[in-house]
């Protein structure tokens, strides 16, 4: 369940995670809101951080501008 497909498109689980980040949250919060296993959320958030869709500060993940736009598309 990677978050970014082979052609750069966001997967369903990526959209779920981005939607759950309306406010800064921990990986545990995202897992609870999306009903995804915690390991998938951690791996997915890392992937989206590499893609600069999400950033992390003090264990809280938040959307970047790109992440906000991508989540709405």
């Amino acid at each position: 369940m990677a978050c970014i497909g082979s052609q750069g498109e966001l997967t369903e689980s990526a959209h779920k995670m981005l939607s759950s980040l309306a406010r800064p949250s921990t990986a545990e919060d995202v897992a609870e809101r999306t009903s995804l296993p915690l390991f998938r959320v951690r791996a997915g958030l890392r992937e989206m951080m590499e893609a600069k869709l999400v950033e992390m500060e003090q264990s809280l993940y938040r959307l970047t501008e790109s992440g906000r736009s991508a989540g709405q598309s």
Partner: protein, 228 residues
């Protein structure tokens, strides 16, 4: 070593070959890794806080492995209920894993809900000592590593290529380990949840004498059981 000696040393074709075959040890930290899986790139640390059953199989599209995958899929929800995640591994490509998972769904009606590591370069297999060259140099043995929420290796099972594993035993093993952690007890041979557990033997004479008056079910001072 002279420069001539150094130049004649074979250069490994990939990183895994430069790592000596190792075997994790019980009670030690599980070796960290990052691997390509059918669910994207996953690191061992992503499982921190959950129990993990990391298991290897010899190869995709083989009959015994197919029965095992169906069996592992069958206990996935029971494991999840116990806070345990599953992670498979073989020395195959992601494409092969995806095709095999789709084939199992099509032919047997079973969805594989857990990620499978595509360990084409044998990195994780080497790190965990999953290769048994006496059996096969290219296929991983049927290994199971139970890793606890703190990343510690708590149990290991090795089966040969010819023998499919018993998933009831894996569930029983998880139940036993979690019972030990929760109640500070040991579990006797063939123990099942609901049965009495063994109280660790006393380590002093005073404790041994007290144990016999403790109200526990004791056959002797060193052999006491209790209901949980």
């Amino acid at each position: 070593m002279s420069s001539q000696d150094a130049s004649s040393t074979p250069i490994p074709s990939h990183p895994a070959e430069s790592t000596p075959a190792s075997l994790p040890r019980l009670g030690m930290a599980a070796p960290p890794f990052e691997a390509v899986t059918t669910h994207g790139k996953i690191r061992l640390e992503d499982f921190r806080g959950s129990w993990l059953v990391l298991f290897s199989h010899p190869a995709d599209f083989t009959p015994v492995c197919t029965t095992e995958f169906i069996a592992f899929a069958g206990i996935a929800s029971e494991l999840r209920r116990r806070g345990v995640e599953l992670l498979g591994l073989s020395i195959d490509s992601p494409t092969s894993h995806i095709a095999w998972a789709l084939n199992i769904k099509e032919k047997f009606g079973i969805e594989i809900p857990f990620p499978i590591i595509a360990d084409s370069n044998k990195e994780v297999a080497t790190l965990y000592g999953m290769l048994s060259p006496g059996e096969s140099k290219t296929e991983t043995s049927r290994c199971v590593f139970v890793i606890d929420p703190d990343g510690i290796v708590r149990a290991m099972i090795y089966y040969p290529l010819t023998t499919g594993r018993n998933t009831d035993e894996i569930l029983r093993l998880i139940d036993a380990l979690q019972t030990t952690d929760k109640h500070k007890v040991a579990t006797p041979a063939n123990w099942k949840p609901g049965e009495k557990a063994i109280v660790p033997p006393p380590t002093t004479l005073e404790e041994a004498e007290a144990r016999l008056r403790s109200g526990l079910e004791c056959t002797d001072w060193y052999f006491c059981k209790k209901a949980l």
